[in-house]
Structure formats: C-alpha cells, structure tokens
C-alpha cells in the first residue's frame, strides 16, 4: 500500500464538544457580566445583582436563607405549571392530530373545517384570556385552556401539511406492491408525515411553555406564572427573575427531551437531525 498523500486532520470528539460548549456560553456569559456590572455600578436600583438572585434562587428551591412565604416552594409551583403545560399539550395533541389528519386527507373535512380554523388562527392566544376566564372561571382551568389553545394550532397546521404533502410516487409504489386504499394511510401517509407532525408537536410544546405564564397571571395561587406575577405586585424583582430562569431552563430541557425522542424516531430522515 502506498502512503496516503493527504492526511486528514482530525480533532477528538471531546475537543469538538468542549468547543461547541464554549461557543454556546459566550453570549450568556457576556449577558451575566453586563448584569453584574450594571447592578454593582447602580445603573439601576430595582434589579438585584446576579449573586443576590442566586441566593434567592437557592432559598426559593430549598429554603433556609430568608424563610419567607416563597421559601422552598419551587417544586410546588413547578409541578403545578408542568401539570398544566403537559396536560394542555397532551389534550391539544389528542384533538389536533386526528383533526389534522381528517382535514389533510378528506376533502369534505377540509372544506368544512379549514376555513373556520384559518379564520380563528390570527387571534393571538393571549387575546383569549378574558373570554377564557369568563368561560372557565378565574384559576387553573382557564390557564389550562389557554395552554391548550396555544399548542393546538402548530400541531394542527403541521399535521395537515404533513399528511397532504406525501410524495405521490410513494402511493404508486405502495399500490403496485399490493397495499391499497385505507391501508395506505397507516403504512404510507402516517410515516411520511411523521417529520412534520413532530415539528408541530415540538412547536406546540414550546408555545405551551410560552403561554403558561400568561395563563397563570390571574387568579391562580400556584404556578411559575403566578410567582412572577406575585413578584411584580410585591416589588420582589428577584422572584420575577427566578421564575423566568426556571421557566427558561425547564422549557429548554423539555425541548431537548422532545428533540432526542425525535432524533431517535426520525433517524431514517436525512433532513431531520437537530
């Protein structure tokens, strides 16, 4: 064997990961620095320093520092919010998935339902808040309903798109192999639409976390949105920031989890790797 003329320069996977991590941390690091500088130089008196906020966060999570009404209550609020987010999301998926498949595949369903949903879609979820409070009363039910609405549209629209945009060649291939009629729905349409459906679910879950704060802002005793709202009325900015950070982190982790599931289920798809 001749010596290879070109040697490929290879970096170890560990270095690659460290580099990616380092690059990803630059912007948050700068932001933290700016926060620290701004608060220590007293550009603003209303925002606590990062270390103060960290202290509050520890107290909020496990207590033992300030021991006020919010000490060691993080898990209560987090669980309340998660229950609403995942509950509303699952209910939205349970309704939007079959509905999207119907609208996407059956012309009669499309003609009947599509104009209605197109008409309702431009209304922002937050605009439903007053009506939702009238319909479901002040409290958790109304937040749940808002999460449902927020997650509903992305799932519905992406499901419709997915089941409508199946390569027609695949139907021909299936039918010449002896798979015809309704059997094609489960063996061709659904798997082909899976990437779109998955995108819809991911967007829907993201929006559910987005909407939960608005949903919990009125008349809900527990929940991360309620914490932020209470922090505002009590002028406890550190509580507001703690609530924001928790939502950010949990929303991120929840999205990563969905992504990992997607990468596994859609490992066949060359375009679907996040």
């Amino acid at each position: 064997m001749a010596e290879p003329v070109f040697s490929v320069k290879r970096t170890s996977p560990f270095l690659e990961r460290a580099k990616a991590m380092g690059l990803a941390l630059i912007v948050p690091g700068l932001l933290l620095l700016l926060w620290q500088v701004a608060t220590t130089h007293r550009w603003t008196r209303l925002i606590p320093t990062p270390s103060e906020t960290a202290n509050y966060m520890v107290d909020f999570a496990i207590g033992g520092i300030y021991d006020d009404a919010f000490s060691a209550t993080l898990h209560i609020h987090l669980l309340a919010s998660m229950g609403r987010v995942y509950g509303g999301f699952l209910l939205a998926a349970a309704v939007a998935l079959p509905l999207g498949m119907l609208i996407g595949r059956i012309p009669l369903a499309r003609q009947t339902l599509d104009p209605f949903f197109q008409l309702m879609r431009p209304i922002p979820v937050t605009a439903w808040l007053p009506l939702s409070m009238i319909l479901f009363g002040l409290g958790a039910k109304s937040a749940f309903a808002l999460v449902f609405l927020g997650a509903f549209y992305p799932i519905l629209l992406n499901t419709i798109f997915g089941v409508r945009n199946v390569d027609p060649k695949l139907f021909e291939a299936a039918s010449m192999l002896g798979c015809r009629g309704n059997a094609q729905f489960f063996r061709v349409v659904l798997p082909a639409a899976l990437p779109s459906i998955f995108t819809g679910l991911r967007l829907g879950l993201g929006l559910a976390w987005f909407v939960i704060v608005v949903g919990e802002m009125t008349g809900v005793p527990q929940g991360l949105g309620a914490v932020i709202m209470d922090g505002r009325t009590l002028s406890r900015t550190e509580l507001v920031i703690c609530g924001m950070i928790v939502i950010g982190v949990v929303g991120y982790l929840s999205d990563r989890l969905v992504m990992m599931l997607g990468n596994y289920l859609l490992r066949w798809s060359p375009t679907h790797h996040g």
Binding site: E172, A174, S175, M176, G178, C179, A192, W268, S269, P270
Partner: protein, 259 residues
C-alpha cells in the same frame, strides 16, 4: 390461433390523451404491442413519445382513453403485485430499512413473519446487499437504492417487471454493473421485463425486442427483434450495425418534420 399461446401483455389500439385546461395532449396514439412471457422488451424514444405512458398503462397507474390493455387476456385494472414497477427515482419508503422495504410487498400479501423473513433474506442476497440490510435508503448510493427497488418488486412475486428509466440517474460504471446484474436475474428467474430507456446502447444490450417510439403524438414506430447472441459485446460490428439502424428509426420523425 389455438396453438398461439396467450400473450402476457396485449396492448390493442391503445390511445391516451391528457387534458390540460382547454388543451388536449395526445400522449399515446393507436399503440399495438404484444409481449410474450419471458421476453425482455425495451421501449425507447425521445421524451414525449409516450413510452412512460405506455408503461404506466401496463402498471395500471393510467387507464387508456381508448383501446384495450390486457394481461393474460383480462383488462388491466388497478395496480397490483403481479406487475411490479421500478421507478427512476427509486420511490423507496425512506422510513423503512432495506429489509423492511423489501418486506413491504410480502407483508401486504399477508405472508407470515417467517415467510417474510425467508423472502427478504433471499432477495437481499440476490442483489448483494447483505451488509446493508438494516440501513435506511438515505444511507445508500443510487445504485444500491435501485437494487433495493428491484429486490422489492421481485420479492413480491411480480410476473412482469416494469422499469421506467431505472438506471437513468446512475453513473456509467454503476449503470453497466446493474445492467449485467439485471440480465443475470432475468435469465435466472424467467421474468418478463418491460424496460423504458432513452439510451439506444442500453436497449440493444438488454432487449430481445426494441420497440422504437416517436413523439407528436406518441406512437410506436417499429418493433425490432434483435438477433444477437448473449452476452452481447457493445464493441462488435453487429452491435453497431443495429445501433445505426435503430438510430435512424429513432430520428425518422425529425426528418419528416424538417422536410
């Protein structure tokens, strides 16, 4: 007539036109073609000559506007497993592995799990993809994908294999390899093959009969039985003689138009 065996495919005066708005396109006009079991037929012609339309009528994807398309004397209805199609762009199911793409047909026929496994093993081996049985289509080269597409049709017990420019998207070397492999499979399995191409050499290398088609409207210009022993040598004088002859027929409509 009694001693004449029934043709597997009988195309009787078949025409097909498509309507685009208020414009009518005659894709195929008055085609007659009989195919015997075990024959290797190539349909050749420029684009718009109706060769793909004729193939799709045999598959059952299109119905003739007029005339009759018969298989074993009965009108061809819906697409079905007896007529397997190999598409130029493979049309594999991207979410299924090589093995499960091949299993798709036998599973649709309601074969048992054990039978499906045996069938898959046999055809994966026939097309030489043992190492890639669990790979997904996007991980394969074009040549490998087309091998899967061929195996998928054979695994389904197709009597008639319809191939729509199957090697058109492949590089020259892969194309030659697949031509050899296809001939070998055809001779071993006694299949009937209808193969659409626009490459004269490919047609002469493969076919028992080369059906030349011309466009505007699409029709069958001539049906040429090749008397050329196999394996065929593309560099032989006989091969070139046939190529010249077919090339003239292929371009005959240009001469008419130019006049």
């Amino acid at each position: 007539m009694a001693e004449e065996p029934l043709p597997i495919i009988d195309i009787r005066n078949v025409s097909k036109s498509f309507q685009f708005g208020d414009q009518r396109i005659d894709a195929l006009s008055g085609a007659n073609l009989q195919i015997r079991k075990g024959e290797f037929i190539c349909l050749i012609g420029a684009s718009g000559c109706g060769k793909s339309t004729l193939l799709r009528i045999m598959a059952g994807f299109e119905q003739p506007t007029s005339g009759e398309a018969l298989m074993w004397g009965k009108p061809i209805g819906e697409p079905g497993p007896s007529r397997g199609m190999v598409f130029q762009d493979y049309a594999l199911f991207p979410w299924l592995t090589v093995r499960n793409n091949i299993a798709f047909g036998p599973k649709s026929q309601g074969r048992s799990t054990g039978e499906v496994r045996d069938i898959c093993d046999r055809f994966i081996e026939m097309v030489g993809l043992q190492k890639f049985a669990n790979a997904y289509p996007h991980q394969l080269s074009g040549g490998m994908r087309q091998r899967v597409a061929i195996a998928r049709v054979l695994a389904n017990d197709a009597e008639l294999v319809l191939m729509d420019e199957p090697f058109g998207a492949l590089d020259a070397m892969t194309r030659e390899r697949l031509q050899d492999e296809l001939l070998e499979i055809w001779q071993r399995t006694k299949l009937t093959v209808v193969f659409v191409t626009h490459a004269i050499e490919e047609a002469i290398f493969l076919a028992d009969r080369v059906v030349v088609m011309t466009p505007g409207p699409g029709r069958i210009e001539s049906d040429n039985r090749l008397i050329l022993p196999r394996p065929r040598d593309v560099a032989s004088p006989e091969f070139n003689e046939i190529r010249r002859e077919l090339s003239a027929k292929l371009h005959s409509h240009h001469a008419k138009k130019a006049a």
